[in-house]
Structure formats: C-alpha cells, structure tokens
Amino acid sequence: MTALTTRVRGSLGSRARDGASRAVRSLGPLGVTAAALLVLVALVTLLAPVLAPYDPDQPDLFNALGGASAAHPLGGDALGRDVLSRLMWGARTTLSGPVLIICLSTVVGTTLAITAAWAGGKVDAIVSRLLDILFAVPGIVFALITVAVLGPGITGVVLGLAVAYTPYVARVVRSAALRERNLPYVAAAWVQGRSAFAICVRHLLPNLRPLIIAQSVSALGFAVIDLAAISFLGLGVQPPTSDWGLMVKSGLDSATRGQPLEALGAGLLIVLVVAAVIVLGDRLGQEEGGRR
C-alpha cells in the first residue's frame, strides 16, 4: 500500500514529513511517549550548564540535607550540593557512558557479524563460538576484570561493558546477515563482479540497519542499568563527579537522615530512562519484524 501512496518525486520536505508521520504511527502512543521522554532528557542533558540553577559541585553547608524549598526544589545532599543541579549534570555521565558502550559494541559487533556471515565456514564458526563465550560471561564480571586491570573509573568500565555487549548485537545481526546474504540479489551482484566489501557495505549493511538500530537501542537500556550499578558499587564513576548511580548510593545515607529526594530522584530517573529506551527498542524491533 505504501508503495502506491508514497509520492516518488515528492520534494525532500514532504518525504521527510511522510517519514515522520509514518514513524509516529508505527511507534504507537507508548512509543511516542518514550521517545518524547528521551528527547526531553537529552535536551536537559545537553543544556545542563544553562538550566542547572547551581554549580553541581559547590557545597553549601546551610543546605546540607535540606528538604525541598523554593531555592532548592529537590533540596541538598549530605554536603549541601543542590540535588536538582546534580541530577541535570549527572545525566551527562550516566548517559554518555552507555551511549559510548553501545556505539563501540555496535561497530565491533556488526563488523564481526557481517564478516562471519559473508565468509561462512571456519571464520563463521570461530566468530560464533567466540560470541557464545562472551555471551556466557555477565557484563558486570567483564567490567570487574577491566577495572582490576585499568583501575576504577569510567574508562575501564566502558571498555569492559563494550566487550560484554558486543555479542548482544552481533548474534542477532549475524543470523539476519546470513539470511540476507543468501538472497539472489547478493548472488547477482557477485556474478556481476562486485567486490565482497562493496556488497557488504552497499547492500547488506543498509538492509540490516533497522535491525541493528533496534537491537542497539534495546541494549542501551541494559547498559544504563549496568553502568549505574557499577558506579553504585563504587567501581565506575568516581566522586565528586555527579552520576545517577553514585547519587543513589550517597542518597541512601541521606535518606536515613531524613532527605530521601536525592536517592529517589536519581533512582526514578534511571528507571524512567531505562524503561523508555527499552520500550523504544521493542517498538523499533517490532517494526523491523513487521517489515520482513
């Protein structure tokens, strides 16, 4: 049907608008809510320097463990730093880490997957077994290993989790790439004399792109949880940098002393963002499934 309704020679603008309205329809109300929430979070994250009412790292003893007030809507933490400002700035570390993890694992995973699917035989067997082994090790364990080698901090954790998340992307992409690779149009391109690299990059990759995006977005949700958990354990982001995982931890102490807003705010944000990312990934995955 879309074939008949889409105007072929429409202007670029109308094509983009068609694409946007189609996206809204296929995401559904829940998907659109999730996407809107993520856009809002992304905006606040980017504009933290402008929006945050206070310096997130500036202690203020008069505000220590302070409750909600007009000056400090979410009160202060144990050192009197403004919780709202720390949440805004904290979004940067909390979210940039997982985005980096997923970018790395998507690039590595997709490359491995397409190479394995194209080459087949021994290469495929070796890559597949390697992915199985990686898949068997929990992400947190990987992060612990890299932290043990590189010392606590964001770099080690990101590298460890990037390795751990590679099979999430690679396994699904490999099986789809295998299916795509066996279609006659690929054989036709090969018989025409196109190089393997050109076929993989010009044909396989664009056709797999929706699946890769859906899979990466789902994995992003889990990466947020893992990274926050590792920071909570004290191995990831180090104080005094603001980070939601760290704030849940320090907020627990404050909560026992009568200021629950820090832990609640950070915890609630983690839950909301993760839920939104997973809903979005799920919808993108469904759309991809429907296209096949």
Binding site: A3, V8, A187, W190, V191, Q192, G193, H203, N207
Partner: protein, 263 residues
C-alpha cells in the same frame, strides 16, 4: 574461429553424500539457445550455479568463451572478466533485487563496474537499457516494491545485459510470472537475442515455454541427462519414457481432468 561459448563435460556435483548432478556434458554455440528441462530436484539449477561460478563442480570441466574455469580463488579482475562472459537472471523477481536500491541505480551499478563512463553517460546508457527491456524513464527512480513481478524481471534482465555478456543463464526466469507476462518476457528475450546475438541457457520445467525459446534441449532426471536433441523433435517425438511423461504433464486445450478414484 571457435563459435562454442560453453563447453561442459562430465559435470558432477555432490552435496555431502547426495549426488545432485552426474556426468552432464553439453556444448552451446554462439547465438544458440539451449534449454535444460527437468522436474524439481533434477539438478538443473545446480548446473546453472556451476556455470556462473556460484558452485564449483566436484568433477568435470566447464569452459566459457574458450577459457576453462578453475576451482581455486579468483581475483576480482578475473571475476569481472567472467562477468562479461556469462550472466544470470534468477527465478524469484522479488528477492533478486535489493529492496533499497532504485531501479536506475541497479543498472548504473553494473555499468560502473565494467565500463569507464562519466556519470552522465552512465545515466543515459542505463535509461537506454531500461527502455530496451520495455521500462520507461520514470521507473528509474522507483524502488523494486513499486514494480510488478514482470517489471522486476525486466530490471534483472537489464542488469544482466548491461555488461554485454556472451551468455545469459535464465534460471526459471519466467516461472514465477503469470502466463501473459511470461509471453511478454519471452518475446523480449527473443528480441534481445536477435539484436545482440547473445546465447541463452534456459533452465525450465515448463515445456511450453521451452518450445518458444530454445533451439536444442537437454532433459535431466535425477542429476543425469536422459535425452537430448533439437527442441521441436524432442517435443514431437520423445524417445524416452521420462520425456514423454513430462510432455504428458502439460495441460492442452480440450484437456479434461480425469476424476480421481475415491479410495
């Protein structure tokens, strides 16, 4: 002056313990059209895949345009050279085009691989080729899903003849199309052969179709050739039981389905 474009002798292909093709030999002359006939599983598609180099024979030799096909790895330069000798059109018009690639780009890509043309020349040549297979300029900007099965098969033919091959293998190329579209595509193929002197290897299970397009035919059953000869003779007076059975399976005007006995 050799005008033999394909010489296959003693072709054999095993998949594990199964023998798909056994002792198949034939020659194809320039400008000729050879039909390979048989039911599903008779090994005819495997023969096609060996001819274009998608499978390597377990035994036997193939030479195309006088150049023997080896079994080792092939450089990309050699692959492009082979591409200009032999091309293929597949059965399924839906999956034989990349669903994201516009029709004009399909043809332009194959031109770009083989001929040093400027983008403008390439575009013009692509439009000529589309016109030659009965498509219009407006089709060039369309995606495969906007075309019918017959139109897609025309695109696949344009893509194949763009490189000006000596031989075109048609692997059940009209089997997925309805009868009136089949006739159009067969006419198109006949026109192309008349104009360019290209040779066809026409793989089919459909004797009516084979009758229209081919000069000679070989009949395959269980991976072996059971009968060969000029197509009209073969269809008029088949010598082999198997060929007779194949011919008898074609419905004719006045054909009445016999009522099955209730068991």
């Amino acid at each position: 002056m050799s005008d033999i474009v394909i010489e296959a002798s003693g072709l054999r292909k095993e998949f594990g313990t199964a023998v798909a093709v056994d002792d198949v030999s034939f020659t194809l002359h320039r400008g000729q059209s050879l039909a390979v006939v048989g039911e599903s599983g008779s090994g005819k598609t495997t023969v096609a895949r060996m001819l274009i180099g998608l499978e390597t024979p377990s035994d036997g030799t193939i030479s195309v345009c006088g150049r023997p096909r080896g079994t080792g790895r092939v450089s990309s330069r050699e692959r492009r050279k082979r591409a200009r000798e032999i091309q293929i059109v597949f059965q399924d018009p839906y999956s034989s085009l990349d669903k994201l690639q516009r029709i004009g780009d399909v043809v332009e890509t194959s031109l770009a691989l083989h001929f040093p043309l400027t983008p403008a020349e390439r575009r013009r040549r692509a439009l000529e080729l589309l016109e030659a297979v009965g498509l219009a300029e407006r089709h060039a900007d369309m995606l495969p899903r906007q075309l019918s099965g017959g139109q897609r098969q025309r695109v696949a033919i344009a893509r194949a003849i763009a490189v000006q091959p000596e031989v075109l293998v048609l692997d059940e190329a009209v089997a997925a199309l309805d009868v009136s579209i089949q006739a159009q595509i067969l006419n198109l193929l006949a026109d192309i052969r008349e104009r360019s002197g290209i040779s066809y290897v026409f793989i089919s299970h459909d004797l009516a179709v084979v009758h229209q397009i081919s000069d000679t035919a070989i009949v395959m059953s269980n991976g072996r050739i059971v009968e060969r000869g000029a197509t009209p003779d073969l269809l008029r007076a088949p010598q082999e039981e198997y060929t007779r059975a194949l011919r008898a399976a074609v419905p004719r005007p006045g054909w009445k389905p016999s009522r099955r006995q209730q068991a």
